[in-house]
């Protein structure tokens, strides 16, 4: 039997969160929807745009639940956008979704929900809340492998996971869309969000959009590319956007063999390229590594980007912030999150140093 709870659902205006709200209403909970205004003006086409808020509001109306908008713009600037820009300026590769989860959705919003008297918070993330027999909570991978978002929730601690509901994590994305369609929700066929939400509105997706966004905030410096002997072999438009292990997007003047970024001297704006083997390492430092429920010394599965490869590794008690790869692994860009799993459950993680 489900115990009825006061649940605050974060409604982004997308299909996942609206279906999450619908499922909780169906279970009989007392559900309130909230959309976070995080960024941008009134015509912004990115996240938390007027049209997204309208979608969230309309779905809330259809579900018969209250809908509110919280303006967390100042917090988002301070904890997500400013560090994002500062990271690139300092030669790190940030993950703003993770910082938003860490500081906004699962901190600021949790505290707000507490203050307002809610029992639980729900989101539309594709991941699962698992409670083990000993009462310990973990975040498990979403049922849809292509949409799994456990990676971006790795930082959640016991008291956060305990109060979290992830109603769509048990379903595939297709099934979520079907449910939305059956309920007549206007979000059923809404495209998935892409890229960094606060950059979507700038012209050009991906690297181009990022370059425009950063260029408005920090000086962008072109990079000189050298080989391991120090000979100049090419150039790149922005040292800030070059990543260790990168192969594509380097202007190397039609060199025959594949060459990869193996070292970045950010201050001097010099990138060294080498062979694939040169990008490999046996270990990755994660200075702020945190375990969900205490250290795990056995075999781990480790993932270094949202939908990146899953590789076996371990962390030994003697070196508690070092991930030791079973097989040589491509070096992880400083700033990227390194997430540790046992089977399909997050057991820890942190940011590569």
């Amino acid at each position: 039997m489900v115990v009825m709870a006061d649940i605050l659902v974060a409604l982004s205006g997308g299909v996942d969160s609206t279906v999450a709200a619908a499922l909780l209403v169906e279970e009989g909970h007392n559900v309130t929807g909230v959309t976070l205004k995080l960024w941008g003006g009134e015509t912004d086409s990115g996240c938390c745009s007027v049209s997204d808020v309208e979608d969230a509001r309309r779905v809330a109306q259809q579900l018969g639940i209250d809908h509110h908008v919280f303006n967390f713009g100042d917090d988002f600037d301070r904890h997500v956008v400013e560090p994002y820009v500062a990271d690139y300026a300092a030669g790190r590769v940030p993950n703003p979704c993770i910082e938003c989860n860490r500081h906004i959705k699962f901190d600021k919003l949790f505290r707000r929900a507490d203050a307002l008297g809610f029992d639980l918070i729900a989101t539309g993330h594709h991941a699962q809340v698992r409670r083990r027999a000993d009462g310990v909570y973990h975040i498990g991978r979403g049922a849809d492998p292509a949409k799994d978002q456990s990676y971006v929730l790795h930082m959640l601690a016991q008291d956060q996971i305990r109060r979290l509901r992830l109603p769509v994590g048990a379903f595939t994305k297709d099934h979520v869309r079907e449910l939305a369609g059956e309920l007549g929700l206007r979000t059923a066929n809404k495209p998935d969000s892409q890229d960094v939400c606060f950059i979507e509105r700038t012209p050009g997706r991906g690297e181009k959009g990022r370059l425009v966004f950063l260029g408005e905030r920090i000086p962008i410096r072109s990079a000189t590319i050298v080989d391991q002997a120090g000979t100049v072999v090419g150039s790149a438009p922005s040292i800030e956007l070059v990543t260790v292990g990168q192969r594509k997007g380097l202007d190397l003047g039609g060199a025959a063999e594949r060459r990869y970024v193996i070292d970045i001297d950010h201050d001097a704006a010099i990138v060294t390229v080498g062979s694939f083997e040169d990008t490999l390492t046996r270990q990755t430092e994660v200075p702020d590594l945190v375990w969900t429920a205490g250290p795990v010394t056995g075999e781990l599965i480790v993932q270094c980007s949202a939908h990146g490869a899953r590789k076996p590794a371990r962390v030994e008690a003697a070196k508690p912030t070092t991930v030791l790869w079973d097989e040589p692994h491509q070096r992880v860009a400083v700033g990227q999150s390194v997430v540790l799993y046992v089977e399909d459950e997050v057991v820890g993680g942190g940011i590569a140093g």
Binding site: T35, K37, V53, H68, V69, N71, L116
Partner: protein, 358 residues
Amino acid sequence: MPYLTSEYGNPSGAHRMARNANKALDESREVMAETLGAQPGEIVFTGGGTEADNMAVFGTLQARPGRLVCSAVEHHAVLEPVELVGGSIVPVERSGRVKLDALVEALGPDVSLVSIMLANNETGVIQPLADIAALVREHAPNALLHTDAVQAFSWLDVADIGSVADLVSVSAHKFGGTQGVGVLVVRGSANVSARTIGGGQERGRRSGTQNVAGIVAMAAAASEMVSNREHEIKRVSALRDHLLDGVLSTVPGSIETSPRRAKTANIAHLCFEDIESESLLFLLERAEVYASAAASCSSGAMEPSHVLGAMGLSRTLGFGSLRLSLGYTTAEVDIEAALAAIPAAVNQLRASADGRHG
């Protein structure tokens, strides 16, 4: 309301049904003229206060090109148009009143319009319109004076106080009419270009078939409001004072944003230290106390108030603002409900981690 059912004639038509509608319009025009201290021919019916304000700004600019001047605490319906055309924005004192020396500095023979609201929509602060008018006539002899009296009409004798202005805006839903109907008073001496052109209604100043039912309702509401106004000002200001005194005495760290004697009778405006308005409004809503903080943007999110910012309040304190508006329907029992709900909500928020900014 026959104009929503059997009397559906178009007032611009020539047949009996049209004439009935036109008669209703003419009668309403006379009522609005009398309550606003204007001639019937000076009343232009609009689709609300924003349209009236926009017409005052853009219509004046088109009829007499020149520089525009407004205060920093104007409603967005004035502020945004004036900013759009690069007008001069005059700062206000901490009290919310326009800095008169700064106003004089902004004036000059090149100014074609000065727009200063009569009472502010967030704080209720009343501007010294007579003093402002005298300065405008002296230092900007070619300018029209517009006053946005949308917030003021229910609480001030606009027919008298507004007589110094060439253009006056009001909006029906602020005094018991329906949303989407308003008036711009355009004095006979003023020439304001039309913003909508077509069938030539409203003497060519605002084309478009009039909202007969809304206008008739507005006139009925205005007539009723004006005859009760003096009594309501006394009654509501006593309720407002009781509310303010009650909150100030029971909630530590509560601040009355501006002195209540300098504002309209209906507004209690407070700031709470260490409180975020969004949370406070949420809890008050649960207690069936419907209040407001600053203006909302089109996403529905609360935006920091430009009015409080212009008054020099810190952004942090501004984020803890609460605007409690009273009206002719407000009774003692409502005040008691608010006096129970507000301290409880503030205490709940302060007791939790999110009570403090972070």
